[in-house]
Subunit: 276 residues, 2 copies
């Protein structure tokens, strides 16, 4: 019996070629998966994969469809925050039994779903990752998860509740009506293309959250732009220093980030694929 995966783009679009490459990979390696790229994945309006209304409709069609088993976000970029209201309030019982896979900007949706106890939010590679060097391995990790194989999971998740976010995305979600309660969680954060001073500032902003955690782990921090002068502290020392201030254990590095080695982190206590 095939497992049906509905794919939409709540932020920015992918190309048809990228979708075809992902479909070909799935057909070759996971024939039990039936990928369905919503036409909205290829729409474009300004920065976004179509206007807010179109992106929200596509998300709701995918999530509320009784005929699909999971929702996979095609790409981040920016924009999934703009559809949270009213999308999150419009999800039905079918959405509640599905996994939702994505990362980066799509962390807005994962966080909002987690806050509302809807489905199984999973930090995981996206179809867009096919364009990276080694991207087939990254995308294959999500395909395997969707097919019910847990091999792509981040290897050190421990026993307690966990969550994984892009640091900027989490900072922008904090304090909004869509922010989940992460008390007692091990939080994993990653970042891309932000100055070290901006990362330091994001940790300052998240200090009230840090102090509620069981611990913090640091994913990859890549493509840091060069500043007019060096920051004077390594990224790991920045994380350690804000953990120290917040009185929360710094638990070391984690294998998530904007690279092909991005691993899977199911939110909460789950450690196996939903329904597996």
């Amino acid at each position: 019996m095939s497992i049906r995966i509905a794919i939409c783009a709540p932020a920015t679009p992918i190309t048809r070629e990228q979708a075809q490459a992902v479909s070909a990979l799935a057909a070759a390696e996971f024939p039990e998966l039936e990928l369905s790229f919503h036409e909205q994945c290829f729409a474009q309006e300004g920065h976004f994969a179509g206007p807010d209304t179109m992106r929200m409709s596509a998300f709701l069609e995918c999530a509320n469809d009784p005929g699909s088993d999971a929702v996979w976000f095609a790409k981040g970029g920016y924009g999934s925050n703009r559809i949270l209201d009213p999308a999150i309030g419009s999800l039905n019982a079918h959405a509640g039994r599905k996994s939702f896979l994505g990362y980066s900007d799509c962390g807005f949706l994962l966080g909002a779903l987690y806050r509302n106890g809807i489905g199984a939010p999973v930090h995981a590679p996206m179809p867009l990752d096919i364009k990276r060097e080694g991207g087939e391995v990254a995308v294959g990790r999500s395909l395997a998860w969707l097919a019910g194989e847990g091999s792509g999971i981040e290897p050190d998740l421990g026993d307690g509740p966990v969550a994984a976010f892009n640091l900027t995305t989490l900072a922008m979600l904090a304090g909004t009506p869509f922010m989940p309660d992460l008390t007692g969680h091990v939080l994993i954060v990653e970042e891309v293309a932000e100055h070290l001073y901006a990362i330091d500032r994001l940790f300052f902003h998240l200090s009230p959250l840090l102090s509620t955690l069981a611990g913090l782990r640091l994913g990859e921090v890549t493509a840091v732009p060069e500043n007019d002068r060096p920051f004077g502290q390594s990224i790991e020392n920045i994380a350690k220093s804000w953990c120290r201030r917040a009185g929360v254990p710094y638990l070391g590095r984690a294998a998530i980030g904007h690279t092909a080695s991005n691993r899977i982190v199911p939110f909460g206590l789950a450690r196996t694929p939903h329904g597996a």
Copy 2:
């Protein structure tokens, strides 16, 4: 009788040449002002004007000194947030009768002072602005204010309480123990060197705050980097759209920003220089 101004750099350093140029301008046009640049203004450690402890000590020396009448922040950049705890809790009664002038990253301090009802926080040009084209006019606006002349004030502040912030600084302050209550205020925000999508995201983050305001005004938004594709919405339409979502009046443009036309905005109900 001379008016004594204590100057420190809670974030990043200025040069001795910049300090001398500002002192020369003051001596020529406002001989009643006695500017005192704290030696810390010229310190450098990595990104910052000296380590956190040094910047905090300099700030407290300037603020708590019975011999000075106002505190002027030399430059923003990044870092004044890192000294809020424990600096804000260490201010004395002398600090409470002073004006504190600055903007950009120094909005962290202005906001924290305002939250705690300490002194008179004032969004105003800083000594570093001397390096801009037209910088003497900008710096002269703050010098005039410090000398008791109100001519540099933003011209449309109205009658209700107001506050002015760099948008990123405000977004990073929100939700921390240093965030002031801006309920019923007209809030003016400005931004520099941020992508339009990031500005849109900052407004999303601040939505809960927006809905408590009397209105929003938009200062200058300068040095917006080019993105890989156009955002598709003007900066003013971005601001209007988030105001609409929050149900708060958009009140048009304001004359603050990272340029020489940056005007003075005393926080709250003040419309004249402190003690004038």
